[in-house]
C-alpha cells in the first residue's frame, strides 16, 4: 500500500508538454515565474491566467489532479490574502470601516493579485516540473543545465546522481519503514497513545534501525556501483541524450514574447498599484 506512493505525481501522457525537453520545461517555469512578478497591469494578469489555462488544457491532465496541488496551500493562500486585505493602507478613504478594520481598494487589489500570483505559480511549476516530467528526466535536465558549473569544479554530476539514488531508494525505505513498524508493534510498541512527547519518543525505535539499514544499503550500493565500473561523471556516456527540438525553441520563443509584451504593457497601460513593486 505504502509502496504505491508515486513521488512527484508524474502523470503519463503524450501531450506537447510531455514531449518537451526537461531543460525547456525548467527554463519555461523560471521565465514564467519572473513574468508573474514583473507583471503589474490587469491585462497582463488576464494574459497569464489565459496562458495557464491553455497549458492546463494542452497537458490533458484532469483538473482535479492539478487543483489538488492548490488545495494543499489553500490555508496559506487565504491567510496571505487576509493580511493583504486588512493591513494594506490605501491613500483614499476606506471602502469599508468596521471597528479597527479598514479596507481600502488597494488592499483588495493586493490580496487578489497575490492570490493570482501564488495560484499561477503553483499551477505552472506543477504542470511543467512534476505532472509532465519524470523525476529522472528532471534530474537529467538539471544536470545538463548546471553542467557549465563543472568548469568551476562544482560536482554537478555527483549532485544529480545523489538525487537519482535518493529517488530510487524512497520506495525501498518506505517498505523498510513498514517492516520496522510491524516488528516494533510485534514487540508491543505503542505509537498511538500518550501525549506529543511520548509519541515522538515512540518513533526512536523506528528511526534508529532505519538509519542503520540506510547506511548498510548505501554501503552495498556503493560496492555494486564500483563493480559496474562507476568512477564518477568523467568518461561516462548516456544512453538517453537530451536534445532540443524545434518545438522547444518555439515554446521558449512564445513564452519569451509573452514576457516581453507584459514588460512593455507595464509602461503603456496604467498599472494597478505603484507599490506592488514591493511584492
Amino acid at each position: 500500500m505504502l509502496k504505491d506512493i508515486t513521488f512527484g505525481q508524474y502523470f503519463p501522457g503524450q501531450s506537447l508538454l510531455h514531449r518537451l525537453d526537461p531543460r525547456t520545461k525548467i527554463l519555461l517555469s523560471l521565465i514564467f515565474i519572473v513574468i508573474l512578478f514583473v507583471a503589474k497591469t490587469p491585462i497582463a494578469f488576464l494574459l497569464m491566467i489565459l496562458l495557464t489555462a491553455v497549458f492546463v488544457e494542452m497537458s490533458k491532465i484532469p483538473f482535479g489532479t492539478i487543483f489538488k496541488g492548490i488545495r494543499a496551500v489553500l490555508i496559506l493562500l487565504l491567510f496571505t490574502a487576509a493580511i493583504n486585505l486588512f493591513l494594506t493602507k490605501g491613500q483614499g478613504t476606506p471602502l469599508l470601516e468596521f471597528w479597527v478594520i479598514k479596507i481600502y481598494a488597494e488592499g483588495i487589489w493586493r490580496a487578489v493579485i497575490m492570490a493570482v500570483r501564488v495560484v499561477l505559480l503553483i499551477l505552472i511549476s506543477g504542470l511543467f516540473l512534476t505532472y509532465t516530467t519524470t523525476p529522472i528526466a528532471l534530474t537529467d535536465g538539471i544536470e545538463s543545465l548546471l553542467s557549465p558549473l563543472k568548469k568551476i569544479r562544482i560536482p554537478v554530476h555527483e549532485f544529480a546522481m545523489m538525487i537519482t539514488i535518493a529517488l530510487r531508494f524512497i520506495p525501498t525505505l518506505i517498505e523498510e519503514t513498514d517492516r520496522v513498524i510491524s516488528a516494533q508493534k510485534a514487540r508491543g510498541a505503542d505509537f498511538s497513545s500518550g501525549g506529543l512527547i511520548k509519541r515522538a519518543r515512540a518513533l526512536i525505535p523506528i528511526l534508529v534501525p532505519l538509519l542503520v539499514s540506510s547506511i548498510k544499503h548505501a554501503e552495498d550500493l556503493a560496492t555494486a556501483m564500483e563493480c559496474r565500473c562507476y568512477r564518477g561523471g568523467d568518461g561516462r556516456t548516456r544512453m538517453v541524450k537530451l536534445t532540443y527540438r524545434t518545438r522547444d525553441f518555439l515554446m521558449l520563443l512564445f513564452v519569451l514574447a509573452i514576457g516581453a509584451s507584459v514588460f512593455v504593457l507595464n509602461h503603456y497601460i496604467p498599472i494597478l498599484l505603484p507599490d506592488l513593486y514591493y511584492f
Binding site: K3, T134, D220, A224, C227, R228, C229, R231, T237, M239
Partner: protein, 294 residues
Amino acid sequence: MSEFIRAEDLSFAYEEDAPKVHPALDRISLSVDSGEYVAVLGHNGSGKSTFAKLLNVILTPSDGRLYVDGKEITPDFSDEETVFDVRRRVGMIFQNPDNQLVATIVEEDVAFGPENLGLPREEIRRRVDMALDAVGMREFAHHAPHHLSGGQKQRIAIAGVLAMKPACMVFDESTAMLDPRGRSEVMSAIEKMNREENITVLHITHYMDEAARADRVIVINDGKIFMDGTPKEVFSRVDELRSVGLEVPQGTELLHALRADGFELPADLIRPDECIDCLAEYLEKHSKNGGASV
C-alpha cells in the same frame, strides 16, 4: 581451454593489524578455465565471499598471487585503469537485489554499466536491449524496479552486468534472499549465461541443489580449499562434507543412508530425478525377486 582465474597461495585477512592470526583466506591455490561453470560452497564465514570480492578488486590480496584474465592483482594494486579493466571483464551480482539497482527505470539501470564504460549511445541501446532479451525482461524495460519481484530484480541485475559484456560473472549468494520461484528464475538465467553467452560462471551458494547443477564444485572451509571436483565426486563424500557442517542434496543423502543400512545403491547420484529413477529401478528389480531385501 584457456585459464581465466589463477590463484597461487592466495591469502586475505580482514584485520589489518593482525593479518596472520585469522585469515579469511589461507593460501588458496586454484585455477578456473574460461567457460567453466563453477559452484563455490561453504558455510557462513568460510571465506567464499571474500574470494569473490578479490576477483574484481573490491578487496586486494594480503599475500600470494592472483591472476584474472592474465592480469596480476597484487596487494598494492592501485593502477586505476587496470582495476577498471578487470571490473569490466568480471561482473558481480550480489545477494540483495535492492542494493544493486541504481536507477528508477529498468532500462536506465541496465544502461548504467555500459554508460560507465563510455560507449557510444547506439551501442548502449543495442546492449541494453540484448541484455534484457537474454534474461527475458524486455517487456519490463520501462517499469520501476521496486514494483518487480525479487527474482525479476535479480534478473535485471544480471542484465546490467551482461550489458557490459564480461568474460566472467560472479554470483555472490545471488539466490539467498529469493523465494523458490525467484531462485529457479535466477538459476536458469545463470545457466543461460554460461551455456549461451559463453560466460565463465562462479556461483557462490550454500544451496546444495544449486551447486549440484554446476560443472565443478569447490568447497571452501576455514579459508582453505576443502574439496574440488565434479559434483558427483564432491557429493559422494557425504561424511566429510558433514564434518565441516555442510549437507548434501536430499536424494544423495537418502541413498547414503540406505547404503549405510546395507542396500547396494550408487554413491554418485546428485540430481533428484537421478535418485528417483535409481530407487524405482532398485525397487522394481528386487520386488521381482520376491521382495526379500526390501
